[in-house]
Amino acid sequence: MRPVLEVEIAGLKLKNPIVTASGTFGFGLEYEPFVNLAALGGVVLKSVTLNPRQGNPPPRITETPAGMLNSIGLQNPGVTEVVEHFLPELKRRRVKVIASVAGETAEEYELVAGRLAQAGVDAIEINLSCPNVSRGGMAFGSDMEAVRSVTGRVRAVSGGLPVFAKLGVLGKDVVETARTAAAAGADGVSLINTLPGLAVDPKSRRPVLGNVTGGLSGPAIKPVALWAVWRVYKELGLPIIGMGGVTSIQDVLEFIMCGATAVAVGTGNFVNPRLTMELAGGLDQALSLEGVQDIKELIGAAHLGSER
């Protein structure tokens, strides 16, 4: 008997727990030469703002030990283009779509989320790591008042759709941020966004990235991501989309055992563009080998024996 891979997270049914991490998979179509989108649990889109954004000056990417820094700066075509062009394409492919919402103000988040909800996405993810212009660029996610207002507004315009708050781990304790987001109406959380980072080119004696600082992702951050998932699951028991450095089935299982219901692949797509498909396909065998009949048995399994 083949193990059951279907999971339900905050009311959203996914055929398997494998989804993509926002910003690493474009709008899905870019990966069609490698991936049958319909075989994935779902696709999380690049964060979208109200108007098109050009993003940060290059260089935008640099490699670091077992990881990478990026400072894309939310380059995206704006919500109208996404609603009119990409969503209809994705719908035809019958893949679950989780749209990621970004903005410079709480109003912008609300407007973008409203447009996307109306356009028929399956869930909303709120990218709370954006700089808040009205607070001097401090990330929304480290200001509990901003978390509350953005989450509340997005919740209000998202109808019955599941809403996930995507959090980093710096600034405020992640459990407190998650609790605040949940209280303001988030159905679950996405953990974790990139860590802040910087690299210097010793030859030129300048920061490598055009934007000076960037976000650290990839296998390097996996232990931190697992720690965040573990704590939020243990303290709050919220539905979690876990991510950070996933490159193998073993990584997927680690996230699930820490408490994630779905697992997102980000930087791993760059290393192996077929990774999401291979993971979705390989879970079957991995679970059979371990005698697991339903992947849901494993969610949070590593907590058994620890005081919860």
């Binding site: 993003g55 000056p57 490699e63 077992a66 990478m68 563009p273």
Partner: protein, 259 residues
């Protein structure tokens, strides 16, 4: 698009420079001049990302793809250490190549490893019977690669070296300034950014009808998804960031905004 391939030959062609042949018949069949591969140089998590490398040429009958590269860091030095028979993961062919018209006169300007993508282009242009003038500059004559192959293609070859050990003493830009750009439907160029920038100015002054240059930028995905490989391009409504991997790597010289 993604293949696990075997290294058929690898040989050192100059200080720090290697030419690698891999067996990848699908890629050999599909590749166009100017396109590139994303190569995984390690099976561990460090170095993590693939490295973009141009398709230097293909041998369709034998199913081979050739890569010409210089060791500049960890990824390329790991590649240089791989012996024949070792496997490599490649992704490609990627990107939009050069325009290859079936008739006309063409000028190709290569600086250093810029010859890597341009050699394939020259081959194609010559195979179509076109006239091709190649201006090729390098540090010294040992760093002028594929000279014999270029001569076999019977192109008009002009070289420049910084120390004057072959051809003009100076850069290839100096050479072009001295000699003038021959009349051509398209001028193509590849090489280090300062050279391309200088050439773009020269092409504009000379009234070159169409100039195509190939750009490099650090890459994440290589397939147009991450927006990591941004380059500033003059758009109809002002400057926009385009993707080297998916919108390029070949751009028209006049649309590139140099920072």
């Amino acid at each position: 698009m993604i293949y696990d391939v075997e290294i058929v030959t690898q040989r050192k062609v100059a200080t720090d420079c290697y030419r690698l042949d891999i067996y990848a018949p699908e890629v050999a069949a599909a590749a166009q001049p100017g396109q590139f591969l994303m190569v995984k140089t390690s099976f561990t998590l460090d170095p993590l990302l693939r490295r973009p490398l141009s398709i230097n040429t293909v041998d369709r009958t034998r199913g081979l793809v050739k890569i010409l590269y210089r060791v500049v860091g960890r990824g390329t030095s790991l590649m240089a250490g791989k012996k024949l028979g070792r496997r490599l993961s490649i992704l490609g062919p990627l990107g939009n190549g050069f325009t290859v018209p079936s008739k006309g006169n063409f000028v190709v300007v290569a600086g250093g490893l810029g010859i890597a993508p341009l050699f394939f282009l020259v081959q194609r242009l010559r195979a179509l019977g076109n006239e091709v003038a190649v201006f090729y500059g390098a540090q010294n004559r040992f760093q002028l690669l594929l000279i014999e192959e270029l001569n076999n293609l019977r192109v008009n070859l002009f070289t420049a070296t910084n120390n004057g050990s072959s051809g003009h003493k100076g850069t290839v830009v100096d050479l072009l300034r001295v000699q003038g750009i021959p009349p051509a439907e398209i001028v193509y160029a590849a090489g280090p950014p300062p050279m391309l920038r200088a050439l773009s100015g020269l092409f504009r002054e000379a009234g070159v009808p169409r100039a195509e240059i190939t750009l490099e930028e650090r890459m994440g995905c290589g397939v147009g998804a991450c927006r990591g490989c941004a380059v500033r391009i003059a758009g109809e409504e002002g400057p926009v960031y385009k993707r080297v991997c998916a919108d390029g790597p070949v751009f028209r010289a006049e649309e590139v905004i140099w920072e």
